[in-house]
């Protein structure tokens, strides 16, 4: 759905742009070509790494390890796990819900969901290409800490 919309918008934009000003459109396509070629090798490297991690790190096993007796370590493990994996929300939420029903720590689930969306350890190389090392490492590490803060506040409120 998202993919169809974004291709539609990009295609329509190109057609309109071409009709109005060919020079600007050529500039836009050159921008696309340059950006895409410079990104492609990193993207293949990231995706290949993801393939390894998802193959050898089953989600069920890790989420099972963060039960209600895991304590603070369980929350940290959940946050680390959420930082590494790249799973879409429509898979992550039902999975998280089933573990919550089975008695997982609500703090661990909150930490997992928050780092899942806000921290992307595997896309750090890609993010660095756009924003530099300093910004990327800071954004991800501060987001990680804030995810833990959110998780512990939620643990207190939802107790």
């Amino acid at each position: 759905m998202f993919i169809a919309v974004i291709w539609g918008v990009a295609g329509l934009g190109l057609v309109l742009s071409w009709a109005k000003n060919r020079g600007n459109t050529r500039k836009a396509l050159q921008f696309f070509r340059r950006a895409f070629l410079s990104l492609a090798p990193s993207i293949v490297a990231i995706i290949w790494t993801i393939g390894f991690i998802l193959t050898f790190l089953p989600s069920e096993f890790v989420l099972g390890a963060i039960g209600r007796n895991a304590g603070i370590m369980g929350v940290v493990i959940a946050a680390v796990f959420g930082s590494i994996v790249l799973i879409p929300a429509f898979i992550a939420f039902p999975l998280a819900a089933s573990f919550l029903r089975q008695g997982a720590d609500v703090r661990a689930i909150a930490a997992f969901v928050t780092t899942l969306v806000m921290v992307g350890a595997l896309t750090v190389p890609l993010e660095m290409k756009f924003f530099g090392r300093r910004f990327t490492l800071l954004r991800n590490s501060i987001s990680f800490v804030m995810a833990l803060v959110i998780a512990f506040v939620m643990g207190e409120v939802l107790r």
Partner: protein, 168 residues
């Protein structure tokens, strides 16, 4: 990642895959299949995003972005960052080129950082989905804590960046 590091990493990944192939062919196949799925997803998403960034680069004047989201744009600029991040769909890596284009066109670092974090964390359909599965109490509390956390992260990133520019 340095440009030169990428071929070395790709070579190690290829070597590791071959090694696993020798021991457990099924696992090596699984690695390649998972990778193929993600590669197709990224190849579907990144080209149109980069085309839109190219069009944005070619057509939108720097002055406009500076006025709407620059250092002097105040709450208005941050609100625009929040709206852009919330209504957009797609994975976070699609937001990187867009955020970079905004930054290059004169949007403030604070607003771009807020845009990235909002894109990552707050999406209307995602919130509804979270309410459905994890309950309204959980989802809305997490949302209520995420908004101030994002403003805090953006402020901190902004401060650190200002410190570096002062040192240089």
């Amino acid at each position: 990642m340095k440009i030169r590091a990428v071929p070395a990493i790709l070579a190690s990944l290829a070597a590791a895959t071959v090694l696993i192939w020798a021991i457990r062919p099924d696992k090596a196949l699984a690695v390649l299949f998972v990778s193929k799925d993600y590669l197709l997803e990224m190849l579907c998403i990144l080209p149109p995003v980069l085309i839109l960034c190219g069009l944005f680069d070619a057509w939108v004047p720097k002055r406009t972005v500076e006025r709407l989201m620059g250092e002097a744009s105040g709450i208005k600029g941050t609100s625009i960052a929040f709206v852009l991040g919330t209504v957009a769909m797609g994975p976070l890596y699609a937001a990187f080129p867009i955020g970079k284009s905004l930054l290059d066109k004169g949007a403030s670092l604070y607003n771009v950082a807020a845009f990235l974090c909002v894109w990552a964390a707050i999406k209307i359909p995602m919130v509804l989905f979270e309410i459905k599965f994890l309950g309204a109490e959980f989802a809305l509390l997490r949302l209520a804590l995420t908004v101030p956390a994002i403003l805090f992260i953006a402020a901190l990133l902004n401060t650190f960046r200002m410190n570096t520019s002062r040192i240089q």
